[in-house]
Amino acid sequence: MVNSLYKKHIISIPELDRSQLESIVATAGMLKATPNPQLLKNKVIASCFFEPSTRTRLSFETAVQRLGGTVVGFDNDGNTSLAKKGETLSDSVQVISSYVDAFIMRHPQEGAARLASEFSNGVPIINGGDGANQHPTQTLLDLFSIFETQGRLDNINIAFVGDLKYGRTVHSLTQALSKFDNVSFYFISPEILAMPDYICEELDEAGISYSLHTSMEEVIPNLDILYMTRVQKERLDESEYVHMKAAYILTASMLTEARENLKILHPLPRIDEITVDVDKTQHAYYFQQAENGVYAREALLALVLNEQLSAGDTNND
């Protein structure tokens, strides 16, 4: 199999084409079914978190170790000598990348991963989130969860609910799904937190259908995927927030008209936008989705660090 992801920096979802996304999703499925602790054998991976992100870090580090690799790094740069001595990110990356085979990083500033890719001397940079910009592996695990539950990435009806203005996960997943055929988007948010114009323009230019709504119930019967996000209280004034809470909270009783195959996704952590009675329904998939983060990251690391990766490499025999 020609592997176009080999030694590639993974910075931003728009840079991945459909076949690369499909290859990651397929590999994640194979690794979930049949673990392979050989794929990163003898590889050392840096996991450098310049800001804390517990779920992302543990998921990445689990992925490395499940594939037989080892991890070096830190979980908060406030504890490192880099921060205390005031070293630039570019210098830190030049040094650390010379120790390792791949460099996973999370950073509070936008553009940090792109900058790192210019200073890593060819060592692949995996973006684990750069400020409010990109978080590509979240999108990969979302795609894998959609594929796993629906058996396809074409012909999906998906609604995004909540903070669509600031939520980078919904922007990236929209961009990723735009590469597939006949995907219909439903955007459900308070007007003040609506999908940014540039995303809607991209969809318009690509001739992709989408519609805007302010209530979930009217669209739930049409959906394959309901992607919930958290609305942060500080984005709205007090009266708007109270109003919003009523309109953008999902309860089990709202799912009576849902299709059998509907799955609910959420990047987590949830606060109160999905009530716990939804957890017991057949539609809840957010905890499995979080687990899938390990397999999606395993798949990505396996593809970035193995020039040849055939189906045979993803099983144990």
Partner: protein
């Protein structure tokens, strides 16, 4: 250019004349090209009468010949400006302005949380034209800004 205006802004022997700059933009262009103009004689005219623009700015720089790439950087501020290279008081070459695909090391990224502000790298933007709008996309933080936001950012 009319004779009376030539008297308002003295002719130059050799160098570059940037004409038909919208009024009030001349000062920004001077700032943009500040480094290239060091130690050269620069004559400027602000708010001169212009039949095409109503009011315009003009900049004349002795002994500096700005190249096409530099001239294209002007297009962001003043798409209709004209750039003439002068030799022996005659126009030796007229440069036509075209929007560049990329703009390096000219503007700071308006996103205050962009990594470029703390690191030893030049800013870099991709120029996007959508219908009549010109937008700039930062290569690093990937944010898209309208032309005015970037060019007017300090």
């Amino acid at each position: 250019m009319t004779k009376s205006m030539q008297m308002q802004v003295e002719a130059i022997n050799n160098g570059t004349v940037i004409d038909h700059i919208p009024a009030n933009i001349g000062l920004k262009l001077l700032k943009l090209f500040n480094i290239q103009f060091v130690n050269q004689r620069v004559t400027i005219g602000f708010n001169l009468p212009s039949s095409a623009l109503g009011c315009k700015d003009i900049i004349k720089v002795e002994n500096v010949f700005i190249n096409e790439e530099q001239a294209n950087q002007l297009a962001l501020y003043a798409p209709n400006a004209t750039v003439n290279q002068i030799e022996n008081y005659e126009v030796a070459k007229k440069l036509t302005l075209e929007l560049p695909d990329q703009i390096h090391a000219i503007f700071r990224c308006p996103n205050s949380n962009c990594i470029t502000h703390n690191e030893p790298v030049d800013s870099s933007f991709r120029v996007l034209t959508k219908k009549h709008d010109i937008q700039l996309k930062c290569k690093y933080c990937e944010k898209v800004f309208s032309r005015e936001i970037v060019t007017e950012h300090p």
